[in-house]
Amino acid sequence: METVKKRIKPDLNIEIMGLKFKNPVIAASGTFGFGREFSKFIDPGLLGGIALKALTLEPREGNKPPRIAETPSGILNSVGLQNPGIEYFLKNELINVKKYNTVIIANIAGNSISDYCGISKKLSATSVEAIELNISCPNVKEGTVFGSTPEGVYEITSRVREVCGKPLIVKLTPNTADIAKNAMAAERAGADAISLINTILGMSIDIHTERPVLNANYGGLSGPAVKPIALRMVHQTASCVKIPVIGMGGIMSGDDAIEFILAGASAVMAGTANIVNPTLCYDIIMGIERYLSDKGIKSVKEITGKLVMN
């Protein structure tokens, strides 16, 4: 028998890394651009935050098309870090994206540790609120080099930490045998938060052309298909580190987000959801609110990590 609780408007605010988010739903890097295109469909100010498309020191053209393929309840992408470079971004995009009344997270990638340090230094002098270290992109050759072993994670995180004047999020790759070890390495090296998962390396084949669908052959899998894997990794990670965990992988609804939050995520990101529907992040926020309200829970903070194991 359910007891009917009084309906309340729950508090969706969270504070992590010393930053205030109006709600725990952040657009995941690479799926929301720099916000421009989406602002025609949804007020980005409704979101908790935006993780921008990965930035590199120099402009990058990315991979040859086709860059996207559909798989059962998932998508494979091999965009490969196409971006206009940090300078262009600072000159032409930052001012626009800062107009949106939300937390701006710069996602950065590079070929070498000194690349990462260089970008971090530049961004530290700007108005972006936090930096997300993308050491986990499966779509560029060097992408996972730094991110796949605890030693690699430790090294790059601590080096960036030294020069980074912003809250530092380390984004982990799921293409590893033991995610918790990598997370702990990031924590030890001074990360302020962990985000996961990036995409899982996958492949799709066109049986008529007898070639991989993606021109890059392999790509990164995201979307609901990966949700059970992501959820398990978020749970493993949140059980091992004290810093906040930002969970993602296949979140398409408020209920999905709640699963991640119960598993230990302080905030969530939604990526593929934006590609499916440019306003879906808002539905996710409303869904979280409805769940809390139905259960009579006052604040989303109350349920982070509330999962009871069997």
Binding site: F32, G33, K40, R67, E70, S73
Partner: protein, 264 residues
């Protein structure tokens, strides 16, 4: 003008040939604001098994009635789903997307060249060009796939039809019909083309040889359809050391001048 996320009602669906369907959809916004060459991006599943929207060209509008048409060939699961929809059901659509063909009153003599599913946006185009001499050249695999021929005849001054197997019209490729027209008497002002990549490449080469402007509508696998995810890259010429950059079919296209495109 701007693309919107819409939930629109299907007003009719008709099977034109074994695998080709025409669907009429009610939409104030799209009927009013769309232009030939633009497309809509349609969710093709309930639930989340098929995540990517399918881009389908707009192939006509009726501003009075507030409807627009799409015509599509059943290829895989997404178009299969579309083909099974019934009037009264709603579709989740983003549109109108992308950039239209460039029309001008200065183009007195206009060539329209389409192959396969490429003819659908061109019908809309031919319909909208009012004051020019229009010649439409359309190619199909075989007679069983011929659709919309009458409508092309209605809105064109001349229509050339060919099939790959000669089962109807000439046994030829569209580009062969095109070559004949280019070698004919009329001085054409522009070619609009849409169809398979190899066909458009050939059309481009012919246009370049004859020094005639040419616009093509490119295809690429898409994610968001609104210019954000950067999935739908195409190589377009630009200044700078490399001489090209990746632009995006959904936002910078699908229509490009064929001379801008790096054909590979």
């Amino acid at each position: 003008m701007t693309a919107k996320l819409l939930y629109e009602e299907i007003s009719s669906i008709e099977r034109l040939s074994e695998r080709i369907y025409m669907m009429r959809i009610k939409s104030e916004h799209i009927s009013k604001s769309s232009k030939p060459g633009q497309f809509v991006n349609i969710r093709c599943c309930e639930g989340n098994e098929l995540l990517l929207r399918r881009p389908i060209s707009i192939c006509g509008t009726d501003i009075q009635k507030g409807t627009f048409d799409i015509t599509f060939m059943v290829k895989g699961k997404g178009t299969q789903y579309l083909s099974q929809r019934k009037p009264g059901e709603t579709l989740d659509i983003i549109g109108p997307c992308g950039n239209a063909f460039e029309l001008s009153e200065n183009y007195k003599n206009v060539l329209v060249a389409g192959g396969g599913i490429g003819i659908f946006p061109l019908l809309y185009l031919a319909d909208m060009i009012r004051h020019s001499n229009k010649c439409s050249l359309i190619g199909f695999k075989s007679s069983s796939e011929i659709v919309m021929l009458d409508r092309f005849k209605t809105c064109s001054n001349k229509v050339g039809v060919c099939t790959d197997d000669g089962s109807a019209g000439e046994k030829a490729f569209v580009t062969e019909l095109l070559e004949k027209e280019l070698n004919g008497k009329i001085k054409w002002d522009i070619i609009y083309a849409c169809g398979p990549y190899e066909m458009m490449k050939k059309v481009h080469m012919l246009s370049a040889e004859h020094g005639i402007k040419c616009q093509v509508s490119l295809e690429q696998r898409m994610g968001c359809g609104i210019g954000a995810c950067l999935a739908c890259a195409c190589k377009i010429k630009c200044r700078g050391s490399k001489g090209w950059t990746y632009k995006h079919v959904c936002k910078d296209g699908p229509v490009f001048y064929s001379s801008e495109v790096i054909w590979e």
